[in-house]
Amino acid sequence: MSTQAPHLKTANQETGVAGSRGLSQYLVMPVVLGIALLALYVYVSLQELDSIEERSLNAARLTRAVWEHIQLTAVSTLLTLLIAIPLGILLTRPFTRRIRPYIVTVLTVLQAVPTIAILVLLAVAFLFLGFAAAIVGLVLYAIVPVLLNTMVGLEQVDDAVLEAGRGMGMSRTTVLQKIELPLAIPVMLAGIRTALVINVGTAALVTYINAGGLGDIIVAGLSTNRIVVQIVGAALTAILALLIDYIAGLIEDLLRPRGL
């Protein structure tokens, strides 16, 4: 009888692992982020703000910055996915084998160019500024993580499974839809979530070309040497990033094939 208890424990643990993440686990992140926001609020209210700080930290301005930031991230991520995923798929098809390395290199090279340089060049050489220019900069920066992970994810799919699919007469498109993509999802999502976080972070830079976002707040804090403002801006960016990543995680849990 003495051995009975530990056995039960083993069984329970397994149920926990095999079952989907418990509700409590889904709640951890929102709660943590909520507490962080609250702490930030308390911290700011305890400070005596001078006129410069007040100007930056009023609710309307912060809401606008956050909303702009979300728009920047959302649009750039959407565009990134629209470009990178189809491209990643194309570049893993046999008929692109020859051009694959060149295209990947070109994109890689574009990705490496510092966003700040892209923004400056767009502004100076083409007088291209604002939201649209910001999106160009962000998209160029985020394509590669998504592209590379899409490609690797697709390449990793078990040959036997692909063979079975093709052997059943699925067309290449069907094999792609029904088998390759679902099985590549975990690796692809890793890239997408990386891109999302990078986008949230980089979007702070586009304040320099009149594209708004939380960068406005951070740079205002930096340029006027107001620590509170910097902290609020940076903290909001990080909280936003974690929130977006958390939502991406929820989507991943929905999309991640269950049998794996």
Binding site: D158, V161, A164, G167, M168, G169, S171, K178, R258
Partner: protein, 397 residues
């Protein structure tokens, strides 16, 4: 090489011409100039040593592997260069490594081809249930499981069910029953043969089990290394007239015993045996036995069904007043006409007097089978096989 011209009336469904596959970086061709005709509606079994190129050959038929050279002709049409997807949709495929889709449930796996073909949901569901039942897996229990939650043999059966989903006319099966226990396997084989007798698909079937090859194959292609055809013929011919030592060794010891699986008790005339009815008196029975060449009598009941064996000792021991009903021993070795000679032999080697009783459908005694008859039957098969082999040899240029 023994050619297979005997079924000239049948149409050739799959013709392989000088089919060759060379894997990059390897010294030898995995398949080397293979010529093979597979008739419509037949099950052709490929057997041969591990690594001889069976899987490679199969995969070239549905162009999962592109041949290095040679042609594949399907139903008269050269498909070596046509659209591979179109081709494959006409051909079911059971892959050696099972290759279930890990992200789909069992039900979804099996429904793959029906969905591809655009069947509606109720038809698809019905088909899935039908196929799961056919491979002996309760749909209620398994439909919603994922592949990793199945045992090895269960996974393999799902692989078979999945390949049958769209009811393809041509089926390639690479060791489909390799991981399945004998009972389930036997059931699957029988189910398969039953369906096949109705719908007559063209099936290429790889197995490493020579018994399975004999049971399932209309013809067997025995390969040596590099997909060299050692013999391509009916199971009967291969067992009775192996083309060379390689084939003989491959079918292994016990070829004659295996051969018996292909002949039926109904095909031979049972030998008569001295028989008396239960109503016969003991004295009369003694008299009958005295005049018989055998050392025991079979007692049959009113309907002519075997009732017991009686030996001379038993007859002698029995008192005058006793009836045949009460003495003797119940016979155990009894077979029906549709039993194989192998079944009969199995019974007789353990049976009293080394004979098996043969009864008809109603249970009425037809006679007995003993070793002499089995021996005769084997020997005549062999003689006719040799004649046939000679004839087909003569028929070739």
């Amino acid at each position: 090489m023994t050619s297979a011209d005997s079924h000239e009336t049948r149409q050739v469904m799959i013709r392989l011409e000088k089919l060759t596959k060379h894997y990059p970086g390897q010294q030898r061709n995995a398949v080397d100039g293979l010529d093979l005709d597979i008739n419509e509606g037949e099950i052709v079994v490929l057997v041969g040593p591990s690594g001889c190129g069976k899987t490679t050959t199969m995969k070239m038929i549905n162009r999962i592997i592109e041949p290095t050279s040679g042609r594949i002709i399907l139903n008269g049409e050269d498909v070596t260069r046509t659209d591979a997807d179109q081709l494959r949709r006409r051909i079911g495929y059971v892959i050696q490594q099972t290759g279930l889709f890990p992200h789909m449930t069992i039900g979804e796996n099996v429904a793959t081809v029906p969905k591809l073909l655009g069947w509606d949901k109720s038809r698809t569901d019905a088909r899935v249930d039908e196929l799961l039942n056919m491979v002996n897996m309760d749909p209620e229990i398994f439909r919603h499981r994922y592949p990793k939650q199945l045992s090895g043999g269960q996974q393999q059966r799902i692989g078979v069910a999945r390949a049958l989903g769209g009811d393809p006319t041509v089926l390639l099966m690479d060791e489909p029953f390799g991981a399945i226990d004998p009972i389930t396997r036997d059931r699957l084989q029988n189910e398969f043969l039953r369906v096949q007798s109705e719908v007559r698909k063209t099936i290429v079937f790889v197995t490493h089990d020579i018994d399975e090859a004999i049971k399932m194959g209309d013809r067997i292609a025995i390969f040596k290394e590099g997909s060299q055809l050692a013999q391509y013929d009916t199971p009967e011919q291969i067992l009775t007239a192996p083309a060379d030592d390689f084939v003989a060794e491959f079918i292994g010891r016990g070829a004659s015993l295996k051969r018996l699986n292909l002949s039926y008790v109904g095909d031979i005339d049972p030998r008569p045996w001295p028989t008396v009815s239960v109503s016969t008196s003991i004295a009369e029975a003694r008299e009958t036995l005295r005049n018989a060449a055998e050392s025991a009598l079979i007692v049959v009941d009113e309907a002519g069904r075997p009732h017991s064996w009686v030996s001379p000792e038993e007859l002698n021991r029995a008192g005058e007043g006793s009836s045949l009903k009460e003495i003797g021993q119940t016979p155990r070795a009894i077979v029906e006409p549709r039993a194989t000679l192998s079944d009969a032999l199995n019974e007789l080697i353990a049976a009293r007097y080394a004979v098996t009783l043969v009864v008809d459908d109603t249970g009425k005694l037809q006679g007995v089978v003993d070793i002499e008859q089995i021996n005769d039957s084997i020997r005549s098969m062999r003689a006719s096989a040799v004649t046939e082999a000679r004839a087909s040899l003569g028929g070739e240029p």
